[in-house]
Point group: C2
């Protein structure tokens, strides 16, 4: 098993803004993909789409304000199914620190390399949205390669 | 042992430009840090500095145009010493694909999370430099957190 790990620090007006960006459809639409629907509360299901290439369905395993969110991938690319995505939030002075982990990849395939960089780019979009009000969600996301 | 993995695609005028960005002092200064000196050829030593917080010394283990570069960290933060940094280049149509791996971390510490995101950001700087002539090397690098 191999994991994708990231850490960003966000100077958000409040840490609740970062938590809401991970647990509400409006928040998620502001940094990951505009095409999202569902319920970000524990037991809920979130459906993220990236037309025309597909998307991900997540089951929300946990969501504890303002410190922890965990999803499990229940549909999407085969490599993603069954993996978990962990969001740990910590307040540190004026910063909200986000510790991110996408855990449970079976093999470090080339697609995992891509997803690692793409998650980093989307975390910068989350940071930008929370700090300035303007993120870069799909379909306006930053192109990192031929795989978009 | 845990690894940081990334993948970016670069529409460089030539793949040699990407290779040169990894093996020459002028190239490295354009995307990672302006404060770099040394020799990027096999057996050479490269010294990267990020004033005022320190830096990294790398031994160049391999450099094969236009496909593979490998460094070993010989001085720097304790967590980095002995780790290796691999750069695999592949031509794919108009793209030069960069498969990056920073291998050999002993533990997935919080600093590793930070370095993963920061590497992603610097890879986007490499991409930008090769595509547009303008990267974002230190001290003009993108701030991702309180750890810079």
């Amino acid at each position: 098993m191999v994991d994708i790990l990231h850490r960003v620090g966000i100077k958000a007006p409040t840490p609740e803004m970062v938590y809401d960006a991970l647990t509400t459809v409006d928040g998620l639409a502001g940094w990951w993909t505009e095409d999202v629907r569902g319920n970000g509360n524990p037991g809920g299901k979130l459906e993220f789409r990236f037309p025309p290439i597909g998307g991900f369905d997540m089951e929300v395993l946990e969501a504890r304000p303002v410190e922890w969110v965990q999803w499990r991938v229940i549909d999407g690319p085969q490599e993603w199914i069954g993996t978990t995505i962990d969001w740990e939030l910590r307040e540190y002075g004026e910063w909200t620190i986000v510790l991110f982990a996408h855990r449970g990849w079976t093999e470090p395939v080339e697609f995992m390399h891509h997803c690692s960089t793409k998650w980093g780019s989307f975390l910068m979009s989350l940071k930008s949205m929370a700090e300035t009000g303007e993120g870069a969600p799909a379909p306006r996301d930053v192109v990192i390669s031929d795989w978009h």
